[in-house]
Structures are given as structure tokens and as C-alpha cells.
Symmetry: C2
């Protein structure tokens, strides 16, 4: 049985107790942008329930163009007003540099990615960079509450970056 | 109290029962790519526990360049081997077209985004498109298990797209 098959079997149990549908717009009017890291369960760590918040995640939790796209849709079409950014300790993005990663891909495949890998050296500093990218975007209209945090994978706590 | 403050307060309770740190590589060697929709609790719906899978999410769950970046890092640096794609019924991406959305942004801000909004008309068809984009990428090495599903927001069930 593959891992994917296990997840499908888990879903059958989940759906037995499921009550839907909930409304499309997020009830708490929040969009969370977080790293894809397996140890960061955004629903558990923030006490989020189904229907409450958009959850946007990628490698690093960096504010890429795709995150700006998602936040633009979240705010302009679905009414969210607050943004919560979450990076974390012991992140995989701290373990390499863009140059060495892209060179390794080029050596393996013959093709060098046109995209930045977005490695970073300091989660707090990259949270500040992510906030700066949102503040600099003309497409995201609501910027009164853009707050960034670092999740500690040892303690489960989020600490705000100031 | 803002919604963000509520989530911070919820985190204090979560961390009281938290035991970490878990290892960095995902235990189930799975990366999930899902829509940001608030009603799709990926941890609940797939029975995922902390430490088991990367979770990548954006507006639509579409395979953007940023998702390829995240999957490349997930597989090449952190050992994942299976990919699970999840779109869903009643998706916000079904409610507009790229042209009209980008025109509305241009009219509001004076600037037209350089990015595609990635609206789509049929979740099943867009799951197939997402699988095709992964299969077409030279950067994602492991393609033996790339499976796509549509989550039903009324029943909580995922149905595989074939």
C-alpha cells in the first residue's frame, strides 16, 4: 500500500463525520502564508477550523509572485483582510544556496531553472523580506495587518518578528 | 481582538502539548499540492500528522512555477517520492476569467499584473493539466506516483481524477 493509498483510506474515515458545505469566503478573513514543512501543521498550530482561513504554502513560506497572485485573489475576490506569515526554525531553505542548488540541477538534467530557489540564511530576516514584498505589491489592497512569525519546531510556539 | 491575535492565542494552547522536534524529511515521503480554500483542511481530510508530508498550497492548487520550485526542493533535497494533487468543488477559481480579473486590477490600480491569474472552468480538467505540467518538468525527478483528486466541499470526500 503506497503512502497515497493510505491518505485516501484516511479520507474515507474523515468524510464519515463531515458536515458541509461551508461558505466559500474565509470566516476569519485571514490568509496564512507558511512554509510547506511537514512539521508545521498550520491547522493545529493556529487552532484553525475548516472554513476559517486561506492557507498558502510553498518551500520556505517566501512571498513569491505566485503568493502575490494567491493573496490578490484572496483579498479582492474572497474578502480576506489580514495576512499571517509563518517561517520556522530548522528550515530546509537554510541548508543550501541558490547557486549551488541550481548548478546541481543543471549538472543532473542539463537545464538550469529560470526561477530563483529562494534559499535564505535567517528565518526572521526572510519574514521581514516577505512583509516588504507584500507592502511593495500594487495588487494586494489590504495591508493594515501583515504580521510575521517564526514557528519553533522544537516547542511548537510561534514568535512574532518585529 | 483581531483574528491574528486569536490565532496567536490558539498557538499558546497548541504548544503546551507539543513534543518536538521531529526529523526534517517528511516521514511518508509525500508532497501534497492543494488549493488554499479555507474549507479544505489538508491535515484533517487526509489524516496527516505532523512530520509526515510537505503541504504546498496556492489559489486553485494549480501547478505554477512556484509549485515546481517547491516540488523540486521537496524531492531533490528532502526525499519525497509521491505527489498528491487536490482541487475541489465550488472553487473560487471557477467564478472569474483571467481577462476580466486582470482588467479589474488594471482599472483599480493602473497596473496590469504580468502573471496569469490561473482561473479554470473545470476542476477535473485542471487536475489533468496540473499532472501534465509536472510530467513536463525536467526538474522534478520522481514521477511514478503523481495522482490527482477533487475534494467535495459538501461531503468531505476526495475522488481520484482518471
Amino acid at each position: 500500500m503506497s503512502a497515497t493509498d493510505e491518505l485516501v483510506a484516511n479520507n474515507a474515515r474523515y468524510s464519515e463525520g463531515f458536515e458541509g458545505p461551508l461558505p466559500l469566503p474565509p470566516a476569519k478573513k485571514v490568509a496564512v502564508v507558511a512554509c510547506m514543512d511537514a512539521r508545521l501543521n498550520v491547522y493545529g498550530a493556529l487552532g484553525l477550523q475548516e472554513g476559517e482561513a486561506h492557507v498558502i504554502r510553498n518551500a520556505g513560506g517566501v512571498v513569491s509572485e505566485d503568493v502575490i497572485r494567491s493573496l490578490t485573489i484572496s483579498q479582492r475576490l474572497l474578502g480576506t483582510e489580514e495576512i499571517v506569515l509563518i517561517h520556522h526554525t530548522d528550515c530546509g531553505m537554510l541548508t543550501f544556496t541558490d547557486d549551488e542548488f541550481k548548478l546541481s540541477i543543471q549538472q543532473d538534467t542539463g537545464v538550469k531553472p529560470t526561477w530563483a530557489a529562494e534559499a535564505f540564511a535567517d528565518p526572521q530576516e526572510d519574514v521581514r523580506q516577505s512583509i516588504a514584498r507584500i507592502r511593495n505589491s500594487p495588487f494586494v489592497p489590504k495591508k493594515d495587518s501583515v504580521r510575521g512569525f517564526v514557528f519553533d519546531v522544537a516547542t511548537g510556539r510561534i514568535d512574532e518578528v518585529v
